[in-house]
Amino acid sequence: MSGQDFLVARARKWSKEQPWRLYGSQVSILVRNEVRQNLFTRRRIWIYLLALVPALIILIDDIFGRRNIDLAQIEDKTQVLAGIIQLYYFRLGIFFACMGIFTWLFRGEMVERTLHYQFLVPVKREVLVLGKFLAGALVAIALFETAVFACFAFVYARFGLAGKAYVFDGPGLGQLGSYLLVTALACLGYGAVFLALSLLFKNPIVPGVVIMGWEAIAPIFPAWAQLLSVTFYLKHLCPVSLPLAGPLAIFTIVAEPVAPFIAVLGLLCLTIAILALSCLSIHRMEITYTAE
């Protein structure tokens, strides 16, 4: 038997020995518990506001600016929407919301002295990481997809039939699909990053700020270094490019264009790699509340 066959045989044996059904049911219970106990609570209101404020502003603008509808503005508003999504949501909204949601998954339980309950049940720590990550991802994705969809709907609703035609007969629907895909990927990517930071650092805020800086300046680094940036992948999937000038142009630079499916695959691979790092770190984690 060659070395490769041996490894394949071992992997198959390992896979057969795993109680996958139990893992699946544990993940689903963890997700349910996490969402119910920690994520849809009053303490998370600031995250909902972070997501929904742009939609509310657009809605207010719709209500009070309805008299000045000019069909030629559709293209302008498309640019405004692209700016809101690419500069606000991807750079700030989703970033800070994921910081709030995902760092709290473990660190919050440390602060509230309840993490030991998670470590005293017959659940592999990897399954615990996955369950908590999926719970955070579910909430972040639901929240920001709703917010992005609302922004999109409010932007084009004010144009009436012309807006409808832009969405259903023009490029609108495709743009919406791309935005929703990119939003979901942003939540997964940033979520994995902040989950890992919360397991690696006692105070993940400082490394979070470093990550924010890195995401901003990554475009000036070589292509291989940019592979470690979440926004590198997101930029390739955005349907509308922003013609920014001056220092803000750094946010829109695409040094080497990448095919969309490679960008999706790349971000998913990065997410999985960071989650694997989290799985390794959680094995070193100890319950020492007095040290927190």
Binding site: T114, F119, V121
Partner: protein
């Protein structure tokens, strides 16, 4: 060493928090029954329990529980239940869900988990308040709901960190009866407590700890026998106390023989209890003294603990 599937074994276990000692070079093994960890605050009892259940990892050494380690969580935590000292609960949870949710993670289906939850609530005397939020419970109720969670899945090893804290006398007595019942089923019950008299009464063996060291371990009487340096007190209720006291004083190992205030007995302090018992037998068979009762006066955990650890709390 092959881990024994019935034993709990600590093999040269040390735990340091940076430069601070948690426990040092702990080695012992425990058979089924009730084992009490006794020691002052900071002696390492909780550290030992956290090591046993994998909440912290040893700096050195290895721990096996029924042949398993916490690195095999699925098998391990089906066998182990731990009622910690941490008085905190998941936000918004009620008593029922607090027990039911972990049971679902064990892999029990809804009906089986519900059955086990109700059974555990019943055993802990918490059925009536199970649907109330834990945040509204008294300290004793919170203690009991944690105990209920620890026993709900019928573990073979029950680890209880200060389980009698905050309980009223009735609940304390019920909890002790529960521990004894669990131990009688051939399980391991490991208790840490400051309520030494109760621990003494129910323990099959004790582990005495001080400043991170195990200073003695075994059955209480065995431990007492090991403490040869310290005179043991024996109370003899008898008819001719003065005669017995005089005879006792003739023995080298007797350091004190005090006639009781009522004149019907002697409190003897001796370094060799067995030799004293032989003397007593001789005196009794000679008809010089009529003995009503003989009992070790300090053969309990508290006395032994005082002998071993003293007031400074340093290792013996």
């Amino acid at each position: 060493m092959t881990p024994d599937a019935r034993q709990i074994a600590f093999e040269g276990v040390s735990k340091f928090y940076g430069e601070v000692l948690g426990v040092n070079k702990v080695s012992f093994s425990l058979e089924p029954g009730i084992t009490s960890l006794v020691g002052p605050n900071g002696s390492g009892k909780t550290t030992l329990m956290n090591l046993l259940t994998g909440l912290i990892r040893p700096t050195q050494g290895a721990i096996h529980v029924l042949g398993l380690t916490p690195q095999q969580p699925i098998e391990f935590f089906r066998q182990v239940g731990f009622c910690t000292q941490f008085d905190s609960f998941p936000p918004g949870t009620n008593g029922y869900d607090f027990i039911y949710s972990p049971l679902r993670l064990h892999g029990f289906g809804h009906s089986q988990a519900a059955k086990l939850t109700n059974e555990a609530l019943e055993r802990a005397g918490m059925s009536q308040v199970a649907r109330r939020k834990v945040a509204g419970y008294s300290k004793g109720m919170r203690q009991r709901i944690r105990l209920a969670q620890a026993i709900a899945h019928h573990p073979s090893v029950l680890v209880l960190d200060e389980p009698l804290n905050g309980l009223d006398p009735m609940a304390r007595s019920e909890s002790i009866a529960l521990f004894e019942a669990i131990a009688k089923q051939g399980m391991h019950v490991i208790i840490s407590s400051h309520i030494l008299e109760e621990v003494d009464r129910i323990s099959d063996r004790v582990v005495l700890m001080s400043s991170g060291y195990v200073v003695a371990e075994g059955q209480i009487r065995e431990v007492r026998r090991e403490v040869r340096d310290h005179p043991m007190q024996i109370l003899v209720r008898c008819s001719n106390a003065a005669r017995l006291a005089a005879a006792a004083f003739e023995l080298d190992h007797v350091v004190e023989a005090k006639i009781l205030n009522d004149g019907h007995g002697v409190l003897v302090r001796t370094r060799d209890a067995e030799q004293f018992y032989l003397l007593l037998n001789k005196i009794v068979s000679g008809g010089l003294v009529e003995v009503d009762a003989v009992a070790p006066a300090d053969d309990d955990v508290n006395s032994i603990y005082q002998y071993l650890i003293g007031s400074d709390g340093g290792p013996a």
